[in-house]
């Protein structure tokens, strides 16, 4: 008769332990929802900042903007290019 009682107590402890563990883990997972919201808003924030920075970089480095700025600073387009190529010698050793 002792054996079944011990076995029942042992199983009861295991069930109680597992139940507590499950409640604990379940609770942690459930409360992690707000944490998820925070992480998500952080991700959104960085994505937003990235997007704004990319827009600023594209605006600043666009040729349309560079040309406008160059004009404001008094630069003028080069009309004539000079080729810095040396003339071939009269005689070349093959």
């Amino acid at each position: 008769m002792k054996r079944p009682i011990l076995l029942i107590i042992f199983i009861a402890f295991i069930i109680a332990g597992l139940t507590i563990a499950q409640i604990n883990v379940g609770n942690k997972i459930a409360t992690a929802g707000s944490e998820l919201s925070q992480i998500q808003s952080e991700v959104d924030k960085y994505e937003r900042e990235n997007s704004i920075l990319q827009e600023q970089i594209l605006d600043t480095s666009s040729y349309t903007n560079i040309e406008e700025k160059a004009k404001e600073l008094g630069f003028a387009p080069v009309k004539k290019s000079v080729s810095m190529v040396s003339a071939p010698p009269l005689a070349m050793k093959q």
């Binding site: 459930a30 929802g33 480095s61």
Partner: protein, 559 residues
Amino acid sequence: MSWRYKFVLLFFVGVFLLIIIRLFHWQVIRASELAALGQDQYGRVIKLDPKRGQIMTSDGFSIAANKLSYLVFANPKEVKNLNSQSELLSKFLDIDVATISAQLNLDKFWVPLKSQVDRKTKEEIEQIKIPGVGFQEQYIRYYPEASTAAKLLGFVGKDENGDDRGYFGLEGFYDRQLRGKTGLALQIHDALGQPILSKMNDTTAQVNGRDLILHTDRTIQYLLDKEIKEGVERYGASSAAAIIMDPKTGGILAMSSYPTFDPRSYRDYSDDLYRNPLLSDTYEPGSTFKPLVMASALDAGLIKPDTRCDICAGPVTIGEYDVRTWNNKYNKDETMIEVIQHSDNTGMVFVGRKLGLDRMLSYFNKFGIGEITGIDLQGEVEAPIRSRDSWYPIDAATATFGQGITVTPIELITAFSAIANDGKRMEPHVVASIQTPEGERIDINPKVLSKPISEKTSKIMTEIMVNAVDKGEAKWAKPKGYRIAGKTGTAQIPVAGHYDPNQTIASFIGFAPAEDPKFLMLVIVDRPTTSIYGAETAAPIFFRVARNILTYYKIPPSE
């Protein structure tokens, strides 16, 4: 069986039937509606919008990107002073007061006021703290270089469901690659509305759009856009357009036309401006067509560069028509080199007679004349050539100098790639590679469409075209020290069954450096008024752009 039993039996059968019908109604007919109601109680379906892929020029610059903007909305229940709030919002959002006031007067909890509002305006509205007004982030298409390459890019509008959709150009052709795939996720929440981590189910995954990396060079595109615009103004033309191609790969380095539109505000422009004339318009190419016919006859071994024309002493009579030269000057016994140099129509009739109609049509076919090129842009049209039976002797004669035959500009430049690329005609392509959101790059390899002429013929034809540039009508505009192969064209425009002598399509096609071509360019000026000739309008534009490209590529003069 007594009637009582029958009555009870029928009664129960009837009740069961009613139950079955009711169950069918709930479980089959209204199943999705009830499922949605049930789902609403414990979660909600979130639409996960993918980010549209970017379009990048060969230097990695995003010529079409995504920009953060806002949808301004309001809760009319929270509005305290309708008139003053309507006036304030009207000022910031640039919408009339009556429209705003009507929206704020609705018996709803959420009303949209304006979408695509920029960050600056949003911050200004935030500062004055209007009760009940909120903002929802949204991404809109953004083109940092404004109207640069507008017709190459196309634009993003809305489809019938209100979703983003690309129209025209690359946005239209590659819409499925660029738009990605909308995802749907079921977010289950607790009683306070907080999302539950373990209960997030992706019903369908969201996939961001793929990026396009182009052959198009931003510097060349910018230079070309500027020159084309200035060309229209300088020569009083109704429009102008140009394509620049790498003849070795078929990659489109730049493509421009003017007048154009700004893809950021495409609604402000006429629909006609969306179309890319370089793919969607056909025209008679005039003398720019002559090198193709000459190359065909050279390739067939029917003439040589020094073959003399024995019908070039005066106008050539064909039936009731006289074929004349453009300036009514004739050069007896001129060589084939001189025929191209003088752009002599009678000389081309001589070449056409040597070639014969059947062989000429066969070469047209090899050059892709009458077929679409397969360029990766939306809107390419076919300019079919007439059937063999409907060619009269005068048609065969005029086709040799590019009249009475129509092509699209992209078709002509693709045919010329064979002369500039050792006889190989390349498929024109704007996109060099496609990049997946995971970073995998899928290259699009150059494709040879046909080999209409031999390498030897292409070299001979190149030299004939170099001579035409050095000694022809447009020699004054050529940059010194460079060997450039080219040909002018002045095509009359057919109007109501006859050619209008005062309206022309002036053009120039050529490539440089002639010994190792880095670019092939076609410039078309429609109805110039300062001069009707290609040598005085399209050629100067060509040479100005060519000079800039040669400097940009750091190619020194060779002569």
